[in-house]
């Protein structure tokens, strides 16, 4: 029974000691210890999250770089394609212009040829006409020179005309 009977003296000293212990430890030990532990935890957390952030940033930068590279590559391809197209266009344009020019030249040459032909024909016609006239002249004059009959005819005619 004595074992389970609390002694007043021990209760008293225990109360005093424990209360003092609690107050002193709380103020001078637990608070600083718990605060520093918490601070350190926060520091570690911050460091970790910052590292994570840096890693994310790196990844972002990397992907950005990749994007940039891809873009540059695409741009280069586009430029090359454009250049090729331009070249093709220029060549084809040049070709078509040359064709047209050639066609025009041919047409003009044809025209010229036709004109020349026409002129020549005209000339020829004129020549032929004058030749014909000359031939006729020659024929007529020859006829007239050859016989007096024509003279008699003209005189007969004139006589008839005067009787009337």
């Amino acid at each position: 029974m004595e074992l389970v009977t609390p002694a007043i003296g021990l209760v008293f000293w225990m109360l005093v000691t424990f209360s003092l212990l609690l107050v002193i430890l709380k103020k001078f030990a637990w608070s600083p210890i718990l605060t520093s532990i918490k601070e350190r935890e926060e520091t570690i957390d911050n460091a970790l999250s910052q590292a994570q952030q840096a890693r994310d940033e790196m990844a972002k930068l990397q992907s950005q770089n990749e994007n940039l590279l891809a873009e540059a590559r695409a741009e280069r391809d586009a430029m090359l394609r454009e250049a090729r197209e331009m070249k093709d266009k220029i060549v084809s344009e040049a070709k078509s212009t040359a064709d047209e020019e050639a066609k025009k030249l041919i047409v003009r040459a044809n025209d010229e040829i036709n004109k020349q032909k026409q002129a020549a024909m005209q000339e020829l016609k004129k020549e032929v006409a004058s030749f014909s006239v000359q031939i006729a002249e020659k024929l007529v004059s020859a006829e007239l020179e050859k016989s007096d009959k024509q003279q008699q005819l003209i005189e007969a005619q004139l006589a008839e005309f005067t009787q009337n």
């Binding site: 389970v4 609390p6 021990l10 209760v11 000691t17 709380k26 030990a29 637990w30």
Partner: protein, 326 residues
């Protein structure tokens, strides 16, 4: 204060020494006393502080009693208790002596205080750095108590009760460990003393009551059961409020006292068998020492375990008191 009382003890001591009474020896060891027995007939006399409303405060060394053989200033020791010399009773007498347990508790408290203050200062010194040296031992304990004991049971308000939880844990733990050290200033059965555990339980009870919110009391006085069950449930709930700290008190007391008793019991075997025949005593002693060693190691575990259990239950009770309604 250490004195050799071999002369004064004389016959009586001799008589009791020849007849070994293990029960008496064990109870003496786990109980409290006004002087601290070191070895043989050497003991430390502790100060006696007695207060009575009529005669005021009396402070003197317990060596004045000459181990219960003499009276001093109207007071004497009867079976280790301070009583009035003339009446042999304790009416109106308050024994506030620095007894063995009080001294052991004070020594342990000073030890705890120095240890923790030094820890705190070393935290201040390498602020924000990794823990060094002894901090590596203490910090896991503190973190364990904070993250695995207090936070899961109390929740958001855990930080407010951390100082109490830490103090209770380390107080019990240090005193348990000191109790296992067989030489001065260890060996006292502080945490196995009902007065000490009663005060600890009282502190828990007061804390829980002060921490409690309306839901805690609603749960007790307006429980979630049909009204006709109120006459059964409400007394049980009220009893539970008292019973919780009461069980805390008994568990620590019983565990630590039992540990001391077992260890002393195994040691007593040597002398019990030795009384039958010296040869038997010698034969039994290795076995007895082995058992004692085993029990001491077990008690090391119990020292931590009981401090942990007390702290865990304390935080669970606080958690129940501050729990918000859901």
């Amino acid at each position: 204060m250490a004195a050799n009382h071999a002369e004064a003890e004389g016959e009586v001591e001799h008589e009791s020494e020849t007849k070994f009474e293990p029960g008496k020896m064990i109870l003496e060891h786990i109980g409290d006393s006004h002087d601290w027995h070191l070895w043989g007939h050497t003991s430390i006399s502790l100060p006696v502080i007695a207060y009575s409303p009529e005669q005021g405060l009396k402070i003197f060394s317990s060596s004045r009693f000459e181990h219960g053989h003499a009276a001093y200033d109207g007071l004497m020791l009867h079976e280790g208790h301070l009583v009035w010399e003339d009446e042999g009773c304790t009416d109106g007498l308050y024994d506030l002596s620095i007894t063995k347990n009080v001294l052991a508790m004070l020594v342990a408290s000073v030890f705890l205080l120095i240890m923790m203050l030094r820890t705190a200062s070393s935290y201040r010194k390498n602020k924000g750095m990794a823990p060094k040296g002894f901090l590596n031992v203490l910090e896991p304990l503190i973190l364990f108590l904070r993250d695995d004991v207090a936070k899961p049971s109390i929740g958001k308000k855990a930080d407010r009760y951390m100082p109490l939880i830490l103090t209770v844990f380390f107080f019990i733990f240090i005193n348990n460990l000191f109790g296992l050290v067989p030489i001065f200033p260890g060996g006292a059965n502080v945490t196995g003393n009902i007065a000490v555990t009663m005060v600890l339980a009282l502190v828990v009870f007061i804390t829980v009551t002060l921490a409690s919110n309306k839901y805690y009391w609603k749960h007790i006085f307006v429980p979630d059961v049909p009204v006709w069950m109120y006459p059964i449930i409400i007394p049980i709930e009220i009893l539970g409020v008292i019973l919780k700290p009461f069980v805390l008190m008994l568990r620590l007391f019983a565990n630590i006292t039992a540990g001391h008793i077992i260890i002393l019991g195994f040691f007593s075997l040597i002398f019990i068998f030795g009384a039958m025949s010296p040869a038997l005593g010698y034969a039994v002693s290795p076995l007895s020492v082995a058992f004692t060693l085993f029990m001491s190691l077990l008690e090391l575990l119990v020292a931590f375990l009981q401090a942990f259990v007390f702290t865990l239950l304390t935080s669970i009770y606080i958690g129940m008191a501050v729990e918000e309604h859901h």
